[in-house]
């Protein structure tokens, strides 16, 4: 996460084909009422999509509520976990999380923060909970704020954010993510057309 420089915005495809996302939506539509945690901002297209599956949706909007800045401090793991817990919506112990969307967000957090956040989520999640993430992989730079992805009618993801500048991308490798998110296993990973890697993690326990 380097210093911001004023450069032309990255050209992103109008709609991103994300097969692992489509797979998760298909699974939601064939299963009972699920609890979905979205670490991004709420959007009507996403709510329409999840509403069809009778999902309960927890919205954290970490970027919108200062979560990236608050998790960027140097602090012991316990303190970071406490910050992460305060950033998530209040948890209903009778309704554990089944699926997590954290598109693009992890690119803006350092490994200790990712570890604290994902451990906090694991404590609120059912065994086998899946985490869907988009990680910058082939590009060396990325917009200075996370993308605002929303699904279109074909279940492709459209980034509606308008970045003004770029910063260096951390380009987290699968190995580093596997170590950082020790409670989760990488189930699938695919390279997407915009140079991002689409990951599906699964909570081990």
């Amino acid at each position: 996460m380097g210093r911001a420089t004023a450069r032309a915005p990255i050209e992103l495809p109008a709609a991103l084909n994300a097969p692992l996302f489509r797979m998760q939506v298909d699974e939601l539509e064939t299963s009972a009422c699920r609890v979905v945690l979205d670490l991004g901002a709420a959007s009507t297209p996403m709510l329409d999509l999840l509403g069809r599956s009778r999902c309960r949706v927890e919205i954290a909007d970490l970027a919108g509520f200062g979560g990236i800045e608050r998790l960027s401090i140097e602090a012991p793991a316990g303190a970071l976990a406490a910050i992460a817990a305060s950033l998530l919506p209040s948890h209903n112990p009778d309704r554990d999380i089944d699926l997590v969307f954290c598109w693009d967000l992890l690119n803006y957090l350092k490994p200790p923060a990712i570890s604290a956040l994902m451990s906090t989520i694991a404590a609120r999640a059912r065994p086998g909970t899946r985490v869907h993430a988009l990680i910058v992989y082939s590009e060396r730079s990325m917009p200075d704020r996370p993308g605002r992805y929303v699904p279109d009618k074909d279940l492709k993801l459209v980034n509606r954010a308008v970045p003004a500048s770029e910063i260096a991308a951390p380009r987290y490798s699968p190995e580093l993510l596997g170590r950082t998110m020790g409670l989760y296993a990488i189930e699938h990973a695919r390279l997407l057309a915009n140079g991002m890697q689409e990951f599906l993690f699964r909570l081990k326990r």
């Binding site: 009422c33 709420a42 709510l47 509403g51 009778r54 309960r56 919205i59 919506p89």
Partner: protein, 193 residues
């Protein structure tokens, strides 16, 4: 009891508000708190209500409301200046301002672009505009909506004395051009209609 100073009465008269000689009750507080605008009652931006707001007509809130808002068969709009720290029950809820609390609607909840909403939303249809700030849980499952609203209905049908208690209902009015702020208290069991 609801008490007001003479200066306030003069301002009310100038604004077209005519209290009855004995109106020192929730009725007068509500009449003062909610001025009518077309078909929709309005809680103006200089009004602060601390307690329960109940009714059967559409309402727009531009002031500060803390407690509970129950308009089970009507529509609520929280305007751009509105600040609501309350659990809200209505047919439909539109948020343009700030809310902190749970929103329950039998039809829909819409959160507009400049709104800031924290809490849980339970409604069969929910729309959140791009740019709106929302943090909380959204439940669109029809069964969950019905459970939540029937719980609220049961509460509302209880005799007033058996409902969840409201510590007090305070209506603060800070009219323009008046430096002094007055506080009026009404019977908590009466609510504000």
């Amino acid at each position: 009891m609801f008490e007001r100073g003479k200066k306030e009465d003069d301002l009310d008269a100038a604004a077209g508000f005519k209290p009855t000689a004995t109106s020192r009750s929730a009725e007068s507080a509500s009449t003062r708190a909610a001025s009518r605008s077309g078909e929709c009652a309005v809680i103006g931006r200089s009004i602060e209500i601390n307690g329960d707001v109940r009714g059967n007509e559409d309402l727009r809130i531009e002031g500060d409301v803390s407690g509970t808002v129950e308009l089970r068969n009507s529509n609520l709009t929280i305007g751009k200046e509105g600040k609501v720290r309350a659990d809200v029950y209505a047919k439909s809820i539109t948020v343009d301002g700030t809310t902190e609390g749970d929103l329950y609607a039998s039809e829909r909840v819409i959160v507009h672009v400049n709104a800031n909403a924290r809490g849980n939303i339970t409604a069969p249809k929910v729309g959140i505009e791009e740019g709106a700030k929302f943090k909380g849980t959204i439940d669109m499952d029809q069964a969950a909506v019905e459970r939540a609203l029937s719980k609220a209905n049961m509460q509302a049908t209880l005799p007033i004395g058996e409902r969840a208690p409201a510590k007090s209902v305070d209506v603060k009015v800070a009219p323009k051009n008046v430096a002094r702020e007055t506080t009026s208290s009404v019977n908590p069991s009466a609510g504000v209609r």
